[in-house]
Subunit: 314 residues, 2 copies
């Protein structure tokens, strides 16, 4: 990241780590839902099924960098790992607050569990109720805004949209050298200042910088029935994770359980002009994800299939 400041050739880190991409029925092939979004070494977890803390250990991501956990809904395969992880952080001596964003019903449940099992914590667990029925900003810092995405499931459920903020322009090193501008001025120039030579000539900022990259975005949609009215929120998203629990030949089952087929996931990706689609939340009945991937790619070729341990750079 330091290199980026001086040379302007690297993008800030924005990665998605797949810790689990199975569905409700536990299997030995997939872990239940969990992902970690790493934006400039600040980690946000999305969903936390049973066993997630061990998956995070395997990923080599640092527990201490985890600041926020976003829970999409209160089905066990999306939240049964949370209490164990909170408890482990306590044993490891964590002192930094941990923020939990989840449907409001989770508040009293979490509270009771913390009282029963985690009275020894030396850090605060801060609960933020999320309204699963509206699209709204629920988190904001200088790098990213995170929005809730209303989904359609059997119980209140929302996805999450991570929108990177505009980053500062890149410094043109050749111009800095040419005009012999001292390094102490780099910060001002990144922030838009022009440069005045000793003879009074003003060098405009546009000559000293190159515009930064287009801000990136990541949308997480699990669990949900096919919901085409998500399209305006997802328009142009850099990476869309969308559940693909079933193949199209089990569309009725998908509808009955408020899940999606691989084709439906791909259709939404195509109609929303996203750059890439990532599918997951595979039903335990599929011993191999290839047919799901193939079905999605027929509609939206730039699709990848999630797997545990996968890291996707945006």
């Amino acid at each position: 990241m330091k290199s980026e400041v001086v040379c302007g050739f690297f993008m800030e880190k924005f990665e998605v780590h797949i810790l689990g991409c199975g569905s409700a029925m536990p299997t030995l092939r997939h872990h239940p839902s969990s992902q970690v979004v790493n934006i400039r070494e600040k980690l946000s977890m999305i969903d936390c099924g049973e066993g997630t803390q061990l998956q995070m250990r395997r990923s080599k991501l640092k527990f201490i960098n985890l600041r926020n956990v976003f829970i999409s809904h209160l089905h066990g395969d999306h939240c049964f790992g949370l209490l164990g992880m909170i408890s482990t952080f306590g044993m490891l001596g964590r002192t930094a607050d941990l923020h939990i964003y989840a449907p409001s019903e989770f508040g009293p449940i979490l509270n009771q569990q913390l009282n029963a099992f985690c009275s020894f914590l030396e850090y605060k667990v801060v609960f933020h109720p999320v309204d699963t029925e509206t699209f709204q900003a629920i988190y904001n810092d200088r790098s990213v805004t995170i929005y809730s995405l209303p989904l359609k499931h059997r119980i209140p459920c929302c996805g999450f949209l991570f929108k990177e903020k505009h980053t500062l322009p890149h410094i043109r090193r050749d111009m800095i050298d040419y005009y012999e501008i001292p390094l102490s001025q780099i910060g001002n120039i990144k922030n838009g200042a022009d440069w005045t030579l000793s003879d009074g000539t003003v060098i405009p900022n546009s000559r000293l910088t190159r515009p930064s990259y287009v801000p990136r975005s990541y949308a997480y949609c699990s669990d949900t029935a096919y919901k085409p009215d998500l399209q305006p929120y997802l328009e142009g998203t850099t990476l869309l994770y969308h559940e693909a629990t079933f193949l199209e030949d089990r569309k009725e089952r998908a509808t009955a359980t408020a899940h999606s087929t691989a084709r439906q996931a791909a259709t939404l990706a195509r109609d929303s002009h996203v750059e890439r689609l990532l599918i997951g939340h595979y039903s335990a009945q599929y011993l191999d994800e290839a047919p799901l991937l193939e079905e999605a790619r027929e509609v939206f070729p730039n699709t990848i299939a999630a797997n545990e341990g996968m890291v996707i750079s945006l």
Copy 2:
């Protein structure tokens, strides 16, 4: 088992399966505490840390044969896997009752969790509060009686003692053949009947049978400080599982956290004249259990170290 009834050469099944033998801090080397005791294909689980349901899948034990779960105490590494397992059984269509034996404080917690996450179950979860401060029978069927064993930990905690009942004597096949006794009479003879020949001669039961084996017993003691007053309850136990969280050089830490050292576990095994000692619940600080095993064997040579996947026949 059928062979046993006719020939009398096999003992009834009495096995202990180790699903997890780590301690509170999760590691990638050990799973948190859980064991399954298989007595004649009726399965009882003891403790159920996070991830236990997957460990049970790996063990190839059948979920449907699990009737009872015994929870020693309410530390997360002994019970955080229970709700996920209960939920999975529901998804698999279980209809048979599942009995949970645990300290009474667990009742309301379990209830709230079941209400929040498991309203879809088609089977009953029956809660049995256990008084952790007394030694008493808490379960009984025709093969086994299970007793609570008061332990000494930072919170209410008990172990469990499985005592097999006396089994019927074995039939002497050679005598059955010699006296041409019809198979239909085998049941009566196992239950103690004599046999009368056509000439009125009475063949005493003792000539037709051999006494059965001595009933076996299994004691589970985790987590606990060294507690020598357990000795009368453990006297002559076939297999004793006793926690050995630390080596003797960390005895102070063991005392402070109400755990035991390997030497203490072995001392209790020796003083209780048990047949075999099984140690486990290793602190995460030990990357290798060999020193713990060695320390225990210095006091009680017939010691084995638990490991995931291990099956011990009594």
